[in-house]
Symmetry: D3
């Protein structure tokens, strides 16, 4: 069994990117006020429609709204930890720290994620009926 084409996709750097891809990279950096693009986007760039689509989604969902920017990152991390996605935990923890997450808040976040995972399984194991007042 010969593995071809190559199994992994190398990140596409700005210098090597098409106009279409560069336009997205530029918008990512401008929106985030940073001067680099992380691997998620640089690997998605192998399929420009997905790169464009996901950036549009991310910009809309994670942009200014009714929830503040740090809270949005905490929700993202809670999902990423529960799914066991190391990349996403690393990238969104960095984002959260840059938005002001303190070590104490991070410790509480981890504790809540753990507790919720525990009680989720209790509720399922015990096949709990939903209380009338919660409906």
């Amino acid at each position: 069994m010969k593995s071809s084409p190559s199994a992994t996709r190398a990140p596409i750097e700005y210098a090597d990117a098409s106009e279409e891809v560069r336009a997205v990279y530029d918008d990512i950096m401008a929106t985030r006020k940073i001067d680099w693009v992380n691997n998620y986007w640089k690997v998605l760039a192998h399929h420009p429609p997905t790169l464009r689509r996901m950036w549009a989604n991310s910009k809309e969902v994670m942009g200014p709204g009714a929830l503040d920017a740090l809270t949005k990152e905490l929700i993202y991390i809670a999902v990423s930890v529960t799914n066991g996605c190391r990349y996403c935990i690393a990238s969104h923890s960095a984002a959260a720290r840059n938005k002001g997450l303190t070590p104490e808040q991070f410790s509480e976040l981890v504790a809540i994620i753990g507790l919720a995972n525990e009680t989720n399984r209790h509720a399922v194991a015990l096949d709990l009926n939903i209380d009338e007042l919660f409906r």
Copy 2:
């Protein structure tokens, strides 16, 4: 195959509870400033050490701290949705609403949970390397 003892555990109501269990119920109601106890605790009550232990955990983790009470509930919901726990979604959504969650915020919460689940899988599928700046 005869299923015995009975497969499900009926909630233990206050009137039928032991002193030990009532003490926990009383503390739950006093802490939450409400006059009822939800099914999670009333079913855990079949095993008083677990009831006591889990209430102590919940009180400590979800009590006042570096994260505000509503943010804590949003983290809880994000985990519960990702795990597919209907009971926990219902109970913590009710708690969040009582702590001020607006419909607009709820909509954003659901959108973020969805997006994070999507990008988590992208990151895994593409076997992304963690960027140096995230380490």
Copy 3:
């Protein structure tokens, strides 16, 4: 959008089953020393090769071995709770009770499942290195 053929598969009862399917049902009942077959097998019966294959797997994996029959059921339940499979929790909890599971043991099982789910997420959130002595 018309949903056809019918969306769900009705259990195939013994009276309506082919010879091939009846042979599996007979072996299930003989092996388990019971006089009925549960829905899992009766729905799998729509695809006899899968019915036959899964019963052979189940018989081999859950049959006598180095782990006792009750322990095997507890492992099964732990997985089923973590995956949130209500059917499997119900069926294997019944099996466990018939193999002697006590209410106290069930309570401990639920507590361990919950704790493991909690610490699993802690370990991932904190990106722990595996200790040398565990390798």
Copy 4:
């Protein structure tokens, strides 16, 4: 705490394998028309009944049928990504490429997996009722 016996199981190479194990390896190579065996089987080989059983399962389920060979691999990858199994993603992506998966198809596969994971959580978060026409 001394970790013994050794924590990990080294792959059992053909030269070191028993007759029973070699017979399975031979069938794997003949069926797949390749001249090597991947680690999954070489580690399962520590327990020959499981090696034999899993190969029989794999051969039956992934062999010729009503779905074509490439489609079967895409389904396998979709599950493996959702479960976060790096080994299985790598092995079945290689298999898919050898069965003709194009880079464009791979990109679409990843996009669908992501979208499904997203909408799955939306459906759970919103506790959707199943439409009559879907039943």
Copy 5:
């Protein structure tokens, strides 16, 4: 604890929908060549930006491309089963049947999903190294 506002979101019917929402509903029906809209969209409609965004995503990802329409549905179902999303399984199984899924193909789909979930856990339990030829 009073649960307000109401815990669940009723589907928004066409007759009660805003112009913005109706435009999406119209496009869903036109694209799918059907005369109704399923609950997923009717509940998302409580937050029109999410309705619009998710429909645009769905239309792009599930529309014509390098993978055929039925294969796309099978991938969707594989994810939905692995995540335990009943709504998504029901809706995409209906879609798959309308795109020609046969009962035999459905049985094979279920078998592959099951097998992949099984071997995913084996690979993780045994901490397999990825073979060089898969890299």
Copy 6:
């Protein structure tokens, strides 16, 4: 985007630990009759209330009870494999081996975990009704 403070938490060694943290470490070592503390606790130590709380939980749940010590570890491993937590699999597999787990038993454990994950998905895919005798 500058990642600060540092992204990962180094284990806190005994020599560098506060009195409060040392007291927990001492109890861990005394309870387990070993002379070292594993990384889970040494990283949790950055937040002493969580360290204290989790150790109390672990000691109570995993301590002597109605289930024997080895069975408790097998349940823990079953959850950890299903969640894909490499650290927890390594640490609890080591614990299980020290409590007498044989290679044969480990192989059976892995086989049961795999089978349960497979049938869990079958049950969900087929939307099985729970048999009356299981209720």
